[in-house]
C-alpha cells in the first residue's frame, strides 16, 4: 500500500510528463519553497518545468526509485526526449537525450511544500552536441 505522500509525488510527475506545468497548482502549495534547479518558488518551478518542456516537447520520465522518510520523498528518475527547440542557446538538434535527475520533496497535507531538483546537465549538453567530444576521427 503506497503512502499518501508518494501518491502526491507520483501525481506531480504525471503532470510534468503530460507537459502541463500550469496544472502543478493541483499538487503544490502556493507558498512552495524551491532550491537549485527547481527555482525559488512555485512560479519559478513552473517556469523551469515549462522551459524543459519547450526544448524537449516529447519529454517522458521514468521513476526509478521513490524513497520516503517521514514527510520527505527522495526520487531518482530519468528523463528522455528529443531536442526540438533552443536550449541554453543551443538551437534544436533533433537529437534524442536521456539523462538522470534527483529530486527531493517535502509533502505536507497532500501538497508539495518544498522541492530541490538536480539534473545531469552535463549529459544533456553532451547529448545535444554542445560539448566538444573526444570521439575518434
Amino acid at each position: 500500500m503506497e503512502t499518501a505522500e508518494k501518491s502526491v509525488v507520483r501525481r506531480f510527475y504525471e503532470i510534468v510528463g503530460s507537459g502541463r506545468p500550469e496544472d502543478l497548482d493541483e499538487v503544490c502549495a502556493p507558498d512552495l519553497v524551491g532550491h537549485a534547479g527547481a527555482g525559488s518558488d512555485l512560479r519559478e518551478l513552473k517556469g523551469e518545468t515549462a522551459s524543459l518542456l519547450v526544448a524537449f516537447p516529447d519529454l517522458t520520465l521514468d521513476l526509478r526509485h521513490l524513497v520516503q522518510e517521514d514527510d520527505l520523498i527522495s526520487v531518482w528518475l530519468t528523463y528522455a526526449g528529443t531536442h526540438q527547440a533552443e536550449f541554453a542557446g543551443v538551437p534544436a538538434s533533433g537529437r534524442r537525450v536521456k539523462f538522470a535527475a534527483w529530486d527531493l520533496m517535502r509533502v505536507q497535507d497532500g501538497r508539495v511544500v518544498e522541492i530541490t531538483q538536480y539534473c545531469d546537465l552535463f549529459t544533456i549538453l553532451s547529448q545535444i552536441g554542445a560539448l566538444p567530444t573526444a570521439a575518434l576521427a
Binding site: A50, P57, D58, A130
Partner: protein, 565 residues
C-alpha cells in the same frame, strides 16, 4: 550505326536511366532518318533532362507522325500523356481537355485499345479536384489496369483513387490504396520509372494534407536504396544520400511548403522563390502546392507585406492562394476582406473537407478579428468534425487551436488546456511554426492568473520565431512580453553582458542556491536577488535558471571579461 540501331540504343538508355545518352542516340537517329520513334524517344529523354516544355512540344509532333504512320493506339497513348502533363505540370486546362478529347476519339475507333481506356479514365479523374467523384474515374482505371496487367497504370490509378478518397474524408481506405500502390511502385514491378516519381509525389501531397510525414518515411528509406542502383536523372541530384534530401530533391516545391511549416524559413525562401520564378517564366508548377500561396505566407511572416502583395498580384482570385491572401488581409488590417475571401474559397471546395480544413482554420482568426464570433464558431466546428474523421495529430492540433482561440476570446477558462493540447500536438507533428502560434495564445490565456508561466512561454515563442526569421509574429510576442512588463528581445547574447553583480549571482545559481539563499549570501533582499536572476535570464535570452547555468558553461566569459571580476 544506322538509324534503327540508334533507336534501339536510345530505348536501352531510356530504360536504364541514362538520359543524356538516350537524347544523343535519338538525335542521331532523327538526323539519319526522321521517324516518330526518334521524336518520341527524344521527347521522353528531354522530360527527364528537366526540359518538360521541349518534351511536350516534341511529343505533340510525334503524335502527328504516329497518326500518319497509322499507329493510332500509340498515338492515343501519347495524347493521354500530353493531356496529363498539361494538366499536372502546367494546369493548362484547355490544352489538357483538347488532348483528352483527341485521345477519346482515337480510342473509339480502335478495336483493341488494351489498357488505354484506363489511362483515359485516369486523365479524366485528374482533370477534377480531389473529389470523391474523381475517385470513381480512378476506380475504373484500376479495374482496367488489372484486367490488362498494366502495372504502371495500376500504380498511378491506385494513388489517384487513394488521394481522392482521403480528400473526401475516407482516410483509412484511401491510405490503404496509397500504400498498396507504393509497394508496387517501389518493388520495380512497373516498366516506367516516371510513375514511381508520380506515386511518391502523390504520397507527399496526401501526407501534407493529413499532416502526417510518417506516411512517407518507410517508402523514402526504400527509395534511397533504389536510387543507389538506378539514376533518377534531374529529379535527384547525384549526391543525394539521406531520405530527407531525397524527398526534397524529388519535389522541391513540396518541400518549400514543408520548410515553411517546420520553421526553416531560410530554406523555404530559396525553394519557393525559385518555384515562383519558374511558374511565372515557364508556367511550370509543382503538382502539390501553389508556390505563390506559400511565398505570400512567407513574406507575411517576415513582415514584408508589400513584397507579399507584389507576389500575389495576378493570383488574388486563385482559390489555392486564399489562405495566404487572407493572412495578408489580416496583417494589413482588413479582416472583413479576409472573411469574404475565405468564405468564397470554401464554397468552391464543397465535398472536399480535407482541402477546406486549412481555410476554416484561417477563417476562425479572420472571423474573430472582424468580430463575427458565430462564424468563427461554425468554422471551429468544421475543423473539429474533419479532425474526428482523419484522427491525425496535426488535425487534432488544429481542432484544439481553433477551440482554444474561441475560448480565449470568450474569456473561458478552458482555453489554457485546449491551447496547451494544441501546442503539444503541433510540436508532435513537427509543425514548429503553428506550435509557436498556439504557444503564444497559450501564454495569453495564462497571463491573468499565472503571469510567470505566461512570461516563460512567451519568451520561448519569441526565441523560436526570431530564430526562424518570422519577424512579424516575433514582434507580436515581444509586444505581449512588454505588456507583461518584461523586456522581450536582447541583442547578441554572452556572459560578458552581465554586470559583476549579476555574474556573482549566476555563480550562486550554478551552485544551486535559491533566491533567499543568494540574498543571505550577498546581504541583499530575496526580492533583489530575484530581480538579478530575471535580468540574467533576459540578457542571456534563456527561460530558466537551469538553462542560464548551462549557457554559462557553454559560453564562458572571455579572458578580458574574466579580468574585470
Amino acid at each position: 550505326m544506322n538509324a534503327r540501331d540508334q533507336l534501339v540504343a536510345g530505348s536501352r538508355s531510356l530504360s536504364s536511366g541514362e538520359w543524356v545518352a538516350a537524347r544523343d542516340a535519338f538525335q542521331v537517329a532523327w538526323a539519319e532518318e526522321e521517324s516518330a520513334d526518334a521524336l518520341d524517344g527524344l521527347a521522353r529523354a528531354l522530360w527527364w533532362l528537366n526540359d518538360p516544355a521541349g518534351a511536350l512540344e516534341l511529343r505533340a509532333r510525334a503524335f502527328a507522325r504516329l497518326r500518319h504512320e497509322g499507329r493510332d493506339a500509340e498515338a492515343a497513348a501519347v495524347a493521354i500523356w500530353l493531356a496529363r502533363e498539361y494538366r499536372n505540370l502546367y494546369r493548362r486546362r484547355e490544352m489538357a481537355d483538347g488532348w483528352r478529347s483527341r485521345a477519346r476519339s482515337l480510342l473509339s475507333s480502335l478495336e483493341d485499345a488494351g489498357s488505354l481506356h484506363g489511362w483515359l479514365h485516369l486523365a479524366e479523374s485528374e482533370a477534377d479536384s480531389l473529389h470523391p467523384r474523381a475517385a470513381d474515374q480512378a476506380d475504373r482505371a484500376v479495374t482496367i489496369a488489372r484486367e490488362h496487367g498494366d502495372i504502371d497504370l495500376e500504380i498511378v490509378a491506385l494513388m489517384r483513387r487513394g488521394a481522392c478518397m482521403v480528400g473526401g474524408g475516407a482516410v483509412a481506405d484511401g491510405v490503404a490504396d496509397l500504400h498498396e500502390a507504393m509497394a508496387a511502385a517501389t518493388s520495380g514491378e512497373g516498366d516506367d520509372v516516371q510513375y514511381v516519381g508520380e506515386a511518391l509525389c502523390t504520397l507527399l501531397e496526401v501526407a501534407g494534407l493529413l499532416g502526417d510525414p510518417s506516411m512517407v518515411e518507410p517508402w523514402a528509406a526504400f527509395l534511397v536504396g533504389y536510387h543507389a542502383s538506378y539514376a533518377f536523372g534531374p529529379l535527384l541530384p547525384f549526391e543525394t544520400s539521406s531520405a530527407t534530401e531525397l524527398i526534397s530533391a524529388f519535389c522541391t516545391g513540396c518541400c518549400g511548403g514543408v520548410y515553411l511549416v517546420t520553421g526553416r524559413l531560410d530554406a523555404a525562401e530559396e525553394q519557393l522563390s525559385h518555384a515562383v520564378t519558374q511558374l511565372i517564366t515557364t508556367g511550370l508548377r509543382p503538382r502539390c502546392l501553389h508556390p505563390v500561396a506559400d511565398l505570400v505566407e512567407l513574406r507575411v511572416l517576415q513582415g514584408r507585406l508589400q513584397d507579399a502583395e507584389a507576389v500575389l498580384t495576378g493570383f488574388e482570385d486563385d482559390p489555392e492562394c486564399a489562405a495566404s491572401a487572407a493572412a495578408l488581409d489580416l496583417a494589413t488590417g482588413h479582416p472583413q476582406r479576409a472573411v469574404a475571401r475565405l468564405t468564397r474559397a470554401i464554397e468552391s471546395l464543397t465535398g472536399v473537407p480535407l482541402l477546406a480544413l486549412p481555410l476554416h482554420a484561417a477563417l476562425v482568426d479572420a472571423a474573430l478579428a472582424s468580430g463575427n464570433v458565430a462564424l468563427a464558431e461554425t468554422s471551429g466546428q468544421f475543423v473539429a468534425e474533419v479532425a474526428g474523421t482523419t484522427a491525425t495529430v496535426l488535425h487534432r492540433a488544429q481542432r484544439d487551436h481553433a477551440a482554444g482561440k474561441l475560448a480565449l476570446a470568450a474569456g473561458d477558462a478552458a482555453a489554457t488546456a485546449l491551447l496547451r493540447s494544441a501546442t503539444l500536438a503541433f510540436a508532435e507533428a513537427g509543425a514548429a511554426l503553428p506550435a509557436c502560434r498556439a504557444r503564444l495564445a497559450l501564454a495569453r490565456s495564462l497571463a491573468p492568473h499565472d503571469r510567470g508561466l505566461a512570461v516563460t512561454e512567451a519568451r520561448s515563442v519569441l526565441l523560436a520565431l526570431d530564430r526562424m526569421g518570422a519577424t512579424a509574429e516575433a514582434d507580436q510576442a515581444a509586444a505581449f512580453l512588454r505588456e507583461l512588463g518584461v523586456r522581450g528581445r536582447t541583442g547578441p547574447r554572452h556572459v560578458g553582458l552581465l554586470s559583476n553583480r549579476e555574474r556573482e549571482v549566476l555563480a550562486l545559481v550554478a551552485d544551486g542556491l535559491s533566491n533567499a539563499e543568494i540574498g543571505q549570501r550577498l546581504f541583499i533582499s530575496t526580492k533583489t536577488a530575484g530581480h538579478h536572476v530575471s535580468s540574467i535570464l533576459a540578457k542571456l535570452g534563456v527561460r530558466s535558471r537551469t538553462e542560464a547555468v548551462a549557457f554559462a558553461m557553454l559560453n564562458p566569459p572571455t579572458a578580458v571579461n574574466e579580468g574585470t571580476r
